[in-house]
């Protein structure tokens, strides 16, 4: 564990160095850009402009592992540091164009993304399941099936939050239960979120970038191909351990009681609002030079209203039992403010295709199999939402460089659909490979540990569980869909 003092000593120096380096390097670009007037931003920006993006993603991946308590206290500052390390020189050099890019990504990506997550989180935190089931292999498998299905409609975070405590209560009497939590992370916190844009943040980002709402149903077959073998393996493993354990006859199940079910109406409202925004052609208007679709603004307003209605109508005890606080949304808010700022150069460079500084990446990623494994491999260690966006733009830059996104995405779906399928599957499925692949993974681990379960370490999770169970299934998916 890195000591908090050593980080506190080391960090101001790092921040200063980053600012100086970024400022100096952008100075050179300014000189170069003067000679290349009229060129697209993505063709001008150098690769090192992506350093803050890599920095923030690595911070999210590594600080929780090596300096958890320190990170818990200081993550907003770190996010701001990386964001400013890019934004200040970027604004200084590119001025109006830079401001336009920043406002564009915040208005069109960041705010809708945060509003959707906020609404889903608020509404799902209003649903509580009390009572105890008996954690037999059949019951556990059933709960995993329910969670896998639910995740596509309330999001992987929402489904994990609703079901993890009933799952823990059901298995409290079991001696060996770590595998139950691990398969819960695989299926409920990741794979299950593949069917709708509400299921997993990467898919919602795809939706915000012109991928139709129902297109994600194309992930149904790959999802089933992953989920069925995993459920089968889980059932066999759980049966093996269950038979070896002494059965305690005193352990009785009690009927499940559901509270806050009126939140399902708000959930249906969220689905309806998102669906409406994808189909309603209500025109657009400009704000600070950014074109905003009326349907999108109405959607976001509706999501806020639905979230507020849920807060207003849900009993306090339900929120208390779900340990509801605003902290998870604050985390997403602060960290994604940094992610969306720093991803600007990466996306611009990728959109420039073979003319950008990441032309090497575009040349390497040629086939769907490459997109599946590279998007997935990176999603295993970095957050899967920005990773999805990066490779989504890699595909657009590769096949349709220079074509506006709103026209390029339908072309991608029509002519190169397997590429989008590979990116989506890679981002959603392989988030399960590590604890840091997807946000709910850590949440589930943390809740399980607080319930007294000793969860495996970062590498223990990979060596004992994700590599032996998930990788063979992903190879199967590759052979069937992306060969």
């Amino acid at each position: 564990m890195v000591s908090q003092q050593s980080i506190a000593r080391f960090l101001p120096g790092l921040i200063l160095l980053t600012f100086i380096a970024m400022g100096m390097m952008f100075g050179d670009v300014f000189a170069e850009s003067a000679d290349h007037g009229g060129q697209a931003l993505g063709e001008l920006l150098p690769l090192w402009a992506c350093i803050p993006f890599a920095g923030i993603l690595l911070s999210i991946a590594l600080f929780p592992l090596f300096a958890g308590h320190w990170w818990h206290k200081h993550f907003p500052k770190i996010s701001a540091m990386w964001a400013l390390a890019f934004a200040i020189p970027f604004l200084f050099i590119y001025r109006g164009q830079a401001m336009h890019e920043i406002l564009h990504i915040y208005f069109l990506d960041y705010f809708p993304f945060i509003i959707l997550l906020w609404a889903l989180y608020t509404v799902s935190a209003g649903i509580l399941i009390r009572g105890t089931l008996k954690g037999t292999p059949k019951m556990n498998t059933f709960l995993l099936i329910v969670g896998t299905f639910l995740a596509s409609w309330v999001g992987t975070t929402g489904a994990s939050m609703i079901l993890i405590r009933p799952m823990l209560r059901a298995n409290a009497h079991r001696r060996r239960k770590v595998h139950v939590i691990i398969f819960f992370i695989f299926l409920v916190s990741n794979v299950g979120g593949s069917l709708t844009p509400l299921g997993d943040p990467p898919l919602f980002l795809g939706f915000l970038h012109s991928v139709p709402f129902f297109w994600t149903l194309n992930l149904a077959m790959p999802m089933i191909t992953v989920a069925i073998p995993l459920l089968l393996m889980f059932f066999l493993v759980d049966t093996f351990y269950y038979r070896r354990e002494e059965k305690t006859s005193s352990r009785e199940s009690s009927a499940l009681t559901f509270f806050g079910l009126h939140n399902l109406i708000f959930l249906a409202g969220i689905i309806g609002a998102v669906l409406m925004s994808g189909t309603w052609k209500a025109g657009s208007f400009h704000l600070f030079g950014i074109e905003l679709k009326v349907a999108f603004v109405v959607r976001d307003a509706l999501l806020i209203v639905l979230g507020l209605l849920s807060l207003r109508t849900t009993r306090k005890e339900i929120h208390q039992e779900n340990e509801f606080t605003w902290f998870p949304i604050q985390e997403v808010g602060y960290l994604f403010a940094g992610i969306f700022m720093t991803i600007i150069p990466a996306l611009a460079i990728l959109k420039a295709g073979s003319h950008g500084a990441l032309s090497g990446l575009i040349e390497v990623t040629k086939e769907p199999i490459h997109y599946f494994w590279i998007t997935g491999g990176l999603s295993s260690f970095l957050d899967n939402a920005p990773t999805y966006l990066t490779f989504f733009n890699t595909a657009l830059g590769s096949f349709f460089p220079g074509i506006p996104e709103v026209e390029a995405v339908p072309m991608l779906i029509e002519h190169k659909e397997s590429y989008l399928l590979a990116i989506s599957c890679g981002a959603v499925f392989m988030g399960a490979m590590t604890y840091i692949g997807n946000a709910p993974n850590f949440m589930v681990k943390s809740i399980a540990e607080e319930a007294g379960i000793r969860m495996p370490s970062f590498f223990g999770y990979m060596i004992k569980y994700s590599i032996p169970f998930l990788v063979p299934v992903f190879i199967l998916v590759t052979l069937i869909y992306f060969r």
């Binding site: 818990h72 001696r175 902290f327 998870p328 960290l335 949440m443 943390s446 007294g452 000793r454």
Partner: protein, 187 residues
């Protein structure tokens, strides 16, 4: 501490084990001995093989049983080719452990377990810490920390049977890691 001994016996392991079990049952002695290879003792079989040029079995027994076992093996040695190749008085048996939990109830169980040692056994070099972080209450997504943390490590040492009993008990506990047991002997 009463005296305990390690007998290193050369001969076919399965035959020896069957013989001793049968012999002790016949002598109405069901306790007072342990085959180390069956109870998570740290054994180096390759070293034994080189040193004794064949299979050996390590048996731990108390003084009360030592004479009985030795005489039994002596009587059986002609028929089964058993031979006691080393005898040691055991100074102490020990194992290392560490624990970590974010659950107060589990922490209570661990505290009780390490706080109440059976006679002849003690916890040495115990380091434990209990940290409460008031800012870490509730659910987190990207900055997972626990409101309550209890962790520590130590060494359980003492008479071999007591250490063995505690090892089995601690190994069952999900939040405690235990090393294999080892013994120090008088050479």
């Amino acid at each position: 501490m009463p005296a305990y001994h390690e007998l290193v016996i050369k001969g076919d392991r399965k035959e020896l084990r069957a013989f001793i079990e049968g012999f002790m049952i016949g002598s109405k002695k069901r306790r007072g001995y342990i085959f180390t290879e069956e109870h998570a003792f740290d054994m180096d079989r390759l070293k034994d093989l080189i040193k004794f040029h064949g299979e050996v079995t390590h048996l731990i027994c108390d003084t009360a049983n030592r004479g009985l076992i030795e005489s039994g093996i002596k009587k059986a040695s002609e028929k089964f080719d058993f031979e006691i190749v080393e005898r040691h008085r055991i100074r102490r048996a020990y194992f290392e452990f560490d624990f970590k939990t974010a659950n107060r109830k589990v922490a209570g169980t661990i505290k009780r377990l390490i706080g109440k040692m059976p006679a002849g056994v003690k916890v040495a070099d115990l380091e434990q810490d209990e940290i409460i972080d008031p800012s870490a209450r509730g659910v987190e997504l990207y900055t997972p920390t626990h409101h309550y943390n209890f962790y520590g490590k130590g060494v359980v040492e003492g008479d071999p049977f007591g250490v063995h009993h505690l090892h089995a008990k601690m190994r069952e506990h999900e939040n405690i890691n235990v090393s294999d047991m080892d013994i120090h002997v008088d050479k």
